[in-house]
Symmetry: C2
Subunit: 111 residues, 2 copies
DNA sequence: CCGGATCCTACAAGATACTG
DNA sequence: CAGTATCTTGTAGGATCCGG
């Protein structure tokens, strides 16, 4: 895309960090509580392990989530939002609030 | 993706309506003021007319923007947010506010 | 249980050229 | 000016198999 991110354009940065349809939904789950890998899979019907890993890794790199592996049998891994990630709560709430006011995504044509 | 959109999940609906990297940026420009087609192109360096038209049409269908064509010479077309689209201001502001608090998208690794 | 590796699909987006 | 048409590309995501 090569958008130079204008001075005041924090929006572009947000989009870079939460790109793709799943990213925001994953954050949404983690806002409720820390989750294990499998728990996230169950909370996000249809997501593939590949995608989930991919998004989670990206979040780690950006300091949005922490990954804690417990060397137990069976293995256990917890994903938790960092304070930075917690800050996304306001954004997600704003999204949800707005979307609730939308008549209907598909029926909007008839409006 | 086929995500069934859980009961409380307005977030998923938001993501459906503002999908793709450019969608949100276009809304961001229109939040400042109504824009003509070419004005949007200039405000969004790198966007192709194809993509711009595509996103704009989708916004129209969803009732987020209105398209007003003036039968003049030269032709003039104005894109303006509907009240529904205006409601996105809070969401975009939340995004910007959060992103500003992020150390740096790329340097976050070193944090 | 967690998740990396590989290959493939779907869709947003880019490039370019052309029209009312 | 404001698009449209066609073709290609880039990347998120899906499917499947397998290793720690």
């Amino acid at each position: 895309m090569s958008n130079p991110c204008l001075p005041e354009c924090g929006v572009a940065r947000f989009l870079t960090l939460l790109n793709g349809p799943w990213a925001t939904l994953i954050v949404r789950e983690l806002l409720k509580a820390p989750h294990r890998f499998t728990e996230l899979r169950e909370a996000l019907p249809g997501i593939s392990p590949h995608t989930l890993t991919s998004r989670l890794r990206q979040f780690e790199r950006h300091g949005i989530v922490t990954r804690t592996a417990y060397a137990e049998i069976p293995p256990r891994v917890e994903y938790e939002l960092t304070p930075l990630g917690e800050g996304l709560r306001d954004v997600l709430e704003a999204m949800g609030t707005w979307a609730m006011a939308v008549p209907d995504p598909d029926a909007a044509v008839t409006a």
